[in-house]
Structure formats: C-alpha cells, structure tokens
C-alpha cells in the first residue's frame, strides 16, 4: 500500500524527522518520528491546513520488554478531514524523556501524567507531572513496564501497610507544586525486599 498523502507531506516538511512509516491492520497509518522533535512535528500536523489533526485522541506507551525501546504513541484524528494517524516515538530505556505536548492540546495533560505514572516516561515541560492513578507514596516503580510483576514488587502485607500509611489529608494545588522541582523517578532497582517503608507518611 502506498504511503498516504499525510506521510508524503510530512516527509516533505520534515525530511530528517520521519524515521519510518508503515501501515498496520489493513489501513492504519503509522509514522515513527524522531523523539527529539515530537512537539514540532505534532504541532505541524495539528495546524497545517492540509492535515488539521486537531483532536488528540490518545497518548500512551508500549513496552515490548527484553530491553527494547519504549514507544510513545499518539493517536490523532482530523475532524475536518476525517483522517486518523498514529505517531510513534521510540525512546531507549536509558533516556526515557520526551517533550510534552500539553501546550498543543490540553487533553495531553492527564494522558501524559498517566504514561508517566505507569511507564516512568518523563514529559519535559509538563505543568504538573506527578502520579495520577497510583498513590503518591507508591514506591514500587511503574506498573505497566514489562519488568514489573503482576502482583507488585512488595509483599501483600507490606502493600497493605503502606496503603494505610497514606496521608489522606494531603492535597495538591498546582501552585504548590512549583516549589517541588522536578518529579522524582523511582529508582528501578528498588527491590522487593525493601521493608523499610520510610516513605509512608
């Protein structure tokens, strides 16, 4: 199947940012782009009159395991042109960071937080990057990574103890987050034997 017009236009506009493109599941166009230029390319896709991918449908990530790079996946939909596009960026495990697209779509705010929470990918420039689904004091890592066991790293007893030591009075306002600096990524080597539990407040 020949590359769609979108891919041709994208290649013409960003000759060195498009890594490769392919068609999946019959008719779904996928483009791999350079992760260091994602915001630039996505902004072009959003605003270019020929493309107008104005609805950010989804941001997610895929971990294939075996040390392969993580993929950040953007699902785009163009309401005016009725076209879909999947944009992917491959991030090596050693450098899990990519520019945030919250400035382009507000919808990316929570979606990127979720990817950060579950995969540990840092979104640079995100206004409020912190855990969204897991508790704030969660110290077992990022659950959707392939090296994360299904039942968690800690024992059930430790998980229960930590859960009940959450401070329920805690709340966060965006302006209070400013002084906190960059979010702390949990070290990947925090092992299952960790019983110190000093993080529970």
């Amino acid at each position: 199947m020949p590359a769609s017009t979108t891919v041709e236009a994208l290649r013409a506009a960003f000759p060195d940012a498009v890594v490769r493109d392919l068609v999946q599941s019959g008719d779904q166009q996928v483009v791999y782009i350079d992760p260091s230029r994602n915001a630039e390319v996505l902004d072009w896709l959003r605003t270019d009159p020929g493309e107008r991918f104005n609805l950010l449908v989804d941001v997610t990530a895929v971990d294939y395991g075996d040390g392969r790079p993580l993929e950040v996946v953007y699902q785009l939909w163009s309401i005016p042109h009725r076209r879909a596009l999947r944009v992917k960026c491959e991030l090596p495990l050693s450098r899990l960071a990519i520019a945030s697209v919250t400035a382009l779509w507000s919808a990316a705010n929570w979606l990127e937080r979720e990817v950060y929470d579950l995969f540990g990918i840092e979104f640079r420039g995100h206004p409020d990057l912190r855990r969204i689904l897991m508790p704030e004091n969660y110290a077992e890592g990022h659950p959707l990574r392939k090296d994360f066991p299904l039942r968690g790293r800690f024992s059930r007893a430790e998980q229960t103890r930590r859960a009940l030591s959450q401070d329920m009075e805690q709340y966060y306002m965006p302006d209070e987050m400013e002084g906190r600096g960059a979010p702390q990524l949990v070290p990947a080597d925090e092992s299952a034997t960790s019983g110190s539990g000093s993080q529970g407040r």
Binding site: G152, R156, Q159, L164
Partner: protein
C-alpha cells in the same frame, strides 16, 4: 454480636443478678426482653452506608430502586454520612489507594456497626489479583457478611442484609461493653496482621477461610436451628 459460647437465651430466666438489670453476668428476664425490643428496633431500621465503588454499586442502586425496594427492610434511608450509619456495604473493588478511606469511614461509624462485603472483589479481590488491589477488605476492616457474586444480584444483597438482621437478633446488651468495645489503637490500622494478610492473599486464601457468617459461630443449619426471622 451473638458470638458468645452459650446458646442465646430467649426464654425468661428467673434469677436476679447482683449487678442490676443491665449488669454483666447471666441474663435476666428484663435484659432478654430488653434485648429483644432493642434488637427488633435495630434490625428493622438499619441505615446502610453505601461504600459503592464499581459494578456492585450499580446493583446496590438497583436494590434500592423500586423493583427490589430495600425500604421493605427498613433500609431505604441510605446514610451518606458514616456518622449516622449502621451497616457499611462495601460494594465493589477496593484498591490500595482507597483502603485508608475505607478504614477511616469504618472508624467514623459509631457502634454498633456491621459490615457487608458485597461481591467477589470486595470479599477476596476477585479476578483482580494484581498490584493495585486489596485482596479482600477483611484485611482492612472486620466483615460480618460476605455476599458472593460478580456482581451479586440485588436479591443476594438483600439476603446478605437479612443475615445481618439475624446477627442483630442474637446480640445482647449485657455484652455490649465487651463485644462492641473500640480499641483506639486500632484506628487507621489494618484489621489483619502481616501474617494473616499473606495467608489471605495466597491462592484461594480467602475462600478457604470464610464461613457463611464470619465469626466463630457455626453457620450450618444444625448449628443455628432457629435462624429465621419470625
């Protein structure tokens, strides 16, 4: 809670205890009659605290709506404030993030109070044997009745609530002080210790340790011959 070793006495006993009408010790005519009246009133005006989280909460709503009509059992007044509630109905999955909330709501409820664990997820974690889920809320709070099902039908919930009513029938005011005593040190702590949590969350852990009515009393028909609401 009707969990004493001797069988519940419902017939009047002709002896006067040294400790007064409500004193500790053997039941008297007065206390058993008073128990009967108080328990009758309690079990027919239970105010549930709906701690609904997921699918079971929808069935709980269906039980409260007109087709199943919880009001027939004096439970139409859903008490959204734990301070005025008698029965905690935990309906749905409880992740670890929600566990302290559940515990706090239980701590906020005044005695006497009962807990119903509605559905497989609340009772044992259900299919969600995963990193984020509490494997049975009985590790967090004491549970009186487990209602199985995924989700249980409204009839199942109503049956579970009627079992709570049966438990109330067995309760005695003279034992209130010991059975219903609150340990301040237990507030905001898990009910089960680490060892029990591990045992309960093992494979089939919870299902092998539960009987029909949790607690030390037997639950067979032979153990409880008069377990029927008059």
């Amino acid at each position: 809670m009707g969990l004493s070793e001797q069988p519940a006495e419902r017939l009047p006993v002709a002896s006067s205890p040294p400790g007064g009408v409500l004193g500790a010790g053997t039941p008297t005519f007065l206390t058993t009659r008073l128990d009967f009246v108080v328990n009758w009133a309690r079990r027919n005006s239970l105010w549930p605290m709906p701690f609904g989280t997921a699918c079971c909460a929808i069935e709980m709503m269906a039980a409260a709506a007109s087709n199943f009509d919880l009001a027939r059992f004096g439970m139409e007044r859903m008490s959204f404030s734990p301070r005025q509630a008698d029965v905690l109905i935990c309906a749905g999955r409880v992740p670890y993030k929600l566990a302290p909330v559940l515990r706090r709501i239980w701590d906020q409820m005044p005695q006497p109070k009962w807990a119903v664990s509605m559905g497989a997820c609340a009772s044992s974690g259900g299919v969600f044997d995963v990193y984020s889920m509490v494997q049975g809320i009985d590790t967090i709070i004491p549970v009186d009745v487990y209602v199985p099902g995924c989700p249980p039908r409204p009839e199942g919930l109503i049956y579970g609530l009627m079992m709570i009513q049966e438990k109330i029938r067995e309760e005695r005011l003279s034992e209130h002080g010991t059975l219903r005593a609150e340990d301040p040190a237990a507030v905001a702590r898990a009910r089960a210790d680490a060892e029990e949590v591990l045992a309960l969350s093992g494979p089939f852990g919870n299902s092998t340790r539960q009987n029909r009515v949790s607690g030390p009393t037997g639950s067979d028909a032979s153990d409880r011959p008069d377990d029927r609401i008059p």
